[in-house]
Subunit: 199 residues, 2 copies
Amino acid sequence: MILSPLLDKLIESLRCLPGVGPKSAQRMAFHLLQRNRQRGLHLADVLQDAMTQIQHCQQCHNFSEEPICRLCANPKRDHQTLCIVQSPADVLAIEQTASYQGRYFVLRGHLSPLDGIGPEDIGIEQLLAHLESHPCKEAILATSTTVEGEATAHYIAQLLQPLQIKTSRIAHGVPMGGELEYIDGTTLSRALQGREEFS
Amino acid sequence: MILSPLLDKLIESLRCLPGVGPKSAQRMAFHLLQRNRQRGLHLADVLQDAMTQIQHCQQCHNFSEEPICRLCANPKRDHQTLCIVQSPADVLAIEQTASYQGRYFVLRGHLSPLDGIGPEDIGIEQLLAHLESHPCKEAILATSTTVEGEATAHYIAQLLQPLQIKTSRIAHGVPMGGELEYIDGTTLSRALQGREEFS
């Protein structure tokens, strides 16, 4: 339905955003045109800048517009602990808890041999190089608790063994606020195995 | 949580889109940066063009990047029928049904005296001017079936009475696929009042 070719193009372009189908894209386009042209223009500018200027930190490979990101450049962060995650979104999630003070290393996803994604595709070499140039005492494996995330954690743990780095894995268990009857069996059995003494 | 100022700015800017909260904005930003930079840049370009170039058609006031929109410029459309709607999104909705061949006039919303929105704010003057320069035989009042939409339709119907234009209102009734037990009372009573003889 071509009413205005540019409007159609805008609706189509908005669909590159995740979770945005034809109806939402249409609503977004009309909303911006009718009420928010200034903010629409601002979004266009910021998008342009972000897509061209945001690169990866040379140390941790997180997103950063500077060669070394703010976390790596922060002298207050603990150099002795390295948290290894699958994606920049995971860094943000952990930072938002404000319960971790060490550094990060961001992989490019997880191992997935069936899809042909091997160690070199997710940046394992860079991780080893990083550990050589920035030695640490403990590596926390914070990949997802999916099958692929577990496999990735195991693979890295094996690699780190000869380097004499203490390697830990984030705890598996029942999420806070979770009612036991609704928790799946695998999680529950891991929660029982990983039980801690009451202190 | 400032990890990258530009990333934060991108997440914040994406929130100008309707229905996009902090978590969705974050997901959109990471998705574009990780997988879709080209489409992100394309979106920035199209947004920029659309926000600056899309204006209103001089005749029907629908969105258009040309002075006269494609619908008004199309000689195949029926000049004798004018459908009056509240917003450009309504034109799109009606066009998508492919069941209307006339022209449109797009108001700027509906009357709302409590919010100080009177006839001059929604473009009633322009509607009358349009009817003078482009006379028609029938005006279909297709404003929403909300209280304000109904009031707007009544107001316009009164204005059009002296002009000897046949004025109709879109039908009120049970939507297709609607189960009667779940339809509200007002709709049901309008559907009974507006019953049609079986042909």
